[in-house]
Amino acid sequence: MDTTKLGLFEAISFVLIVITNKIILNLPKNVIVKCGNSAWINVIFISIIALFFTMLIVKLFKNFEGYNILGISKYLGGNIFKNIFSCAYLLVFILIATIVLRDFSETLKTIYYFNSPLTFIMLFFIIGTILGNKYGLKAIAKANLFILPIVILGIFVICISSFKNFEFTRLLPVLGNGIDTTFMSGITNIFCYSGIAYLFFIMPYLKNSKQFKKISIISIIISSLYLLLSVLCLTLVFSYITVTEESNSMYLLTRTLEFGRFFQRIDAIFILLFIMSCLSYLTITLFLILDIFKNITNIKDSKAMSYCFATLILGLALLPKNISIVRTIHYNIFKNLILYFVFGFSTLVLILANIKKKREQQGHDSLQTLQ
């Protein structure tokens, strides 16, 4: 058993866990807030763009099999550029982990643990992520592969079971807040696919790097379907006003579920799934943080650093005074960071590295012709 490489399903679930957590952490609500009733059209639109974007990334990675984005940045701009670029990514992932930890812990506190201190709730996640990183990549990937199908099935059950509450008139007006917000300014909703950032780092861990294309496309398609399903269900079940409230929209959906007279409040079961999903997501993110740190510092074994980074994430997550600040950071700063840094700058690095590679190859070919 190779303990450092990921198989096809493990790699797909590695990327998919990002979108499931985004769905759990109120992402569909933000799409609906932006586009109104036409959110589902917007999701289809941005999904197509995300798919094309993924195909572009796959194409750009073709010349760099076995490398992650940091390795490619080293090829492009040398060690100094790589280190600056790595530090930027390190900060992005720390920010992701911090926001997710605080946001989800606040949600749990509001729903069930109103008497418990926030740090106490966060500690459960921190312990889980440290434990996961002690076991290493393969164990994390396998545990994630076990958890993800159950979580995906859970989301599917939530969406399908709320069918009786569907009001199809809520889809009207079809174009929601207008064509402009649906197709033009709504394009910024592509930040939903921040899972693409994980694709940039997954290549060196693949058992078969030729499967990168398959992994990327399958994971983006499944992510799109789930995002569409959740957005559509929320639009059909709740009025625009209800969805735009601060509460967790996916949790609200679970509250509507009833199976006969006996099972009327089964939302806690889904919360258990969400907790495991969040644990898995944070563990993977911490793994990537350690991986980037290892790349920067060239330390032999970065596992021991998991305590430091986990504590750092815990500390940072406790900094914002309330959940509103966290959500502002999430949907304003983080959104732009993903858009400009992951989708913009990283892609630019890939394109430039490809151009450099092509030129080098041309130079090499012409040298051979001269000889």
């Binding site: 190779d2 493990e10 393969k138 164990a139 396998k142 058992k207 079961i269 907790i275 495991m276």
Partner: protein
């Protein structure tokens, strides 16, 4: 103390390079397509059809190679000279220790052939005269030896090695004589049969009712008798500087992965201990991760289970003096399977397996879930039931955690006490403990009735787990989940499940991923999926064993279905 505390804390955070011993078998993950051509017919374990040579040395070399006599500890080959027609002929005999009666071999094969007597010192011319006078037949040395020199009730002359190996495996003694292109198969079977006791802990309704015993050679002879193929290797090894305990390493030479066999041999041969008395000790000494609660080696008292495992490509280790054979590698699926499963129709066994899976879930998580729900997530309980629970708890002065721990520990006490006393009293203790104590505890308002149901259901479910070691694991983990549920509700339980998944994902048993087939094996047709497919579809051996032979049956195993009636 202060210094020790600081040292302990600093050690916890100090970087320690991973000292994990790593042995891995090739990882056959879901996405790698294996060769699906079924070479079953071409390379099945066909016995050799080679004819016996008239050269004794050729026969001897062939037999030695066929039976791997240098490493097979129970294969006995005895070279000697026989006397016939007043001449000396070179000869050898072969038998399997434990399967043949050595007294019969000594008195009725070796003695008449080796020692000088009236029959073997007759000259050929004299015999010819006798023969001619009686039957008017020519002298024939082959018939002379079987008719006059082997005083046994069943002696047959065989001409090819397929019969040699099959008769040897059945417990016969085979005699080869120089210059004769035949061999004599003498019926001297002497293995232990039904007097062997029935299994005490792995009881099944359908299937074999014999169990291993304490004698090593009897156990190996049981395996030989059930497998009946010379491909079975039984290697001997000695463990313990003082006890010098014999340990037999058994495997199918043409099936088991050579690396796996070598790893088992390596671990057993590198034990520096004074004494080895039981297989339980050996299990702890050679398993991959001794700190992990989950069992990694299967211990069985059933020879049929051991034989299925051998034919799957696993390695069996039998310790002299222990009635349990160790099967390695063992994955989680094996510990949740019963030997009964293979004997039942797949629909029946799958129903049993589904119930067992449910029982596993309850045995591990039910008390933890109860405490989490009643402390943090009460809305999960339907209103009517919630009222009933609240009413039943009204007169109980203790918190739920106390009630639960009190009942769980009481139950563990009953179980432990029931095991340690003679069986008739044990049953009484069970009844007294479970019924009277439970009833009295409810009446005394120490615990609520609902909790009795929870603890009883958990206990019932834990009995449905087929493996004793896994049962112990769940008993310990149950308490962990109770505390996690108490401190964090579903958050604690979620963390517990996540940690358990991580631990299981990280665990290997002799290089095989422990959670096979739950996560890594997606392909069909192997015998590793949790639920059984119909028996004729179980074409492949478990992938994680990386066996030399992938297929265990043909593409169409029920050929009779496709033959037209004549």
């Amino acid at each position: 103390m202060n210094k020790n505390f600081i040292k302990g804390i600093s050690n916890f955070f100090l970087y320690k390079p991973s000292s994990k011993y790593e042995f891995t078998l090739p990882d056959y993950s879901s996405d790698e397509d294996s060769n699906n051509d079924n070479p079953y017919l071409e390379d099945a374990l066909d016995p050799a059809t080679k004819k016996i040579s008239s050269s004794l040395d050729d026969n001897l070399n062939y037999i030695k190679a066929k039976y791997n006599s240098l490493i097979n500890s129970d294969i006995n080959i005895r070279e000697f000279y026989i006397m016939a027609v007043d001449k000396r002929f070179k000869a050898f005999l072969i038998y399997i220790d434990g399967m043949a009666d050595t007294d019969s071999i000594n008195h009725f094969i070796l003695k008449p052939l080796m020692l000088r007597n009236r029959t073997n010192t007759h000259k050929k011319s004299n015999i010819c005269k006798i023969k001619i006078n009686n039957n008017n037949e020519d002298f024939n040395l082959e018939n002379h030896i079987s008719d006059c020199l082997l005083p046994q009730n069943r002696v047959s002359i065989i001409e090819d090695f397929s019969k040699v190996t099959s008769d040897t495996n059945m417990g016969n003694c085979i005699v080869f004589i120089d210059s004769l292109p035949i061999a004599y198969s003498v019926d001297v079977k002497g293995f232990k049969q039904r007097s062997i006791s029935t299994p005490q802990n792995e009881i099944i309704v359908r299937g074999s009712q014999e169990a291993f015993v304490e004698t090593l050679r009897t156990n190996t002879s049981i395996l030989r008798r059930l497998i009946n193929n010379e491909d079975l290797i039984i290697e001997n090894s000695v463990v313990g500087k003082i006890s010098k305990t014999n340990v037999a390493i058994c495997y199918m030479n043409s099936i088991a992965n050579a690396d796996l066999v070598a790893e088992v041999q390596y671990r057993i041969n590198n034990l520096d201990i004074d004494a080895l008395v039981s297989s339980g000790q050996l299990e702890q000494l050679i398993q991959d991760d001794s700190s992990n609660l989950f069992p990694q080696i299967i211990a069985t008292e059933r020879p049929d289970k051991a034989v299925y495992s051998l034919l799957d490509g696993r390695v069996i280790v039998i310790v002299n003096g222990s009635p349990y054979a160790l099967i390695m590698p063992g994955v989680l699926n094996d510990f949740l399977s019963s030997p009964e499963d293979i004997n039942l129709k797949y629909q029946f066994s799958n129903l049993a397996k589904a119930i067992r899976l449910l029982a596993t879930f309850f045995a591990l998580l039910l008390p933890g879930f109860y405490i989490a729900i009643s402390n943090y997530h009460q809305e999960l309980i339907p209103t009517e039931l919630l009222f009933a629970i609240a009413a039943s708890r009204e007169s109980v002065p203790f918190p739920i955690i106390f009630e639960l721990l009190f009942m769980e520990i009481s139950f563990e006490l009953i179980r432990e006490a029931g095991l340690r006393v003679p069986s008739p009293i044990g049953q009484t203790i069970g009844i007294v403990g479970a019924l009277i104590l439970g009833d009295a505890a409810v009446k005394a308002n120490i615990v609520s009735p609902i909790l009795i149901i929870i603890v009883a259901l958990t206990a019932l479910c834990s009995f449905a787990i087929p493996d004793l070691s896994l049962n112990f694991t769940f008993r310990i983990l149950r308490f962990v989940y109770v505390f996690l549920g108490y401190f964090g509700g579903f958050l604690g339980i979620g963390l517990g499940i996540f940690a358990l998944l991580l631990s299981l994902s990280n665990l290997t048993s002799f290089g095989a991923p422990y959670i096979m087939p739950f996560l890594t094996n997606i392909s069909n047709g192997t015998t590793t999926s949790y639920f059984n497919s119909p028996i004729w579809l179980r074409e492949k051996r478990p992938k994680f064993l990386d066996t030399k032979k992938i297929f265990s049956q043909g593409n169409i195993s029920r050929k009779w279905q496709f033959y037209k009636k004549q």
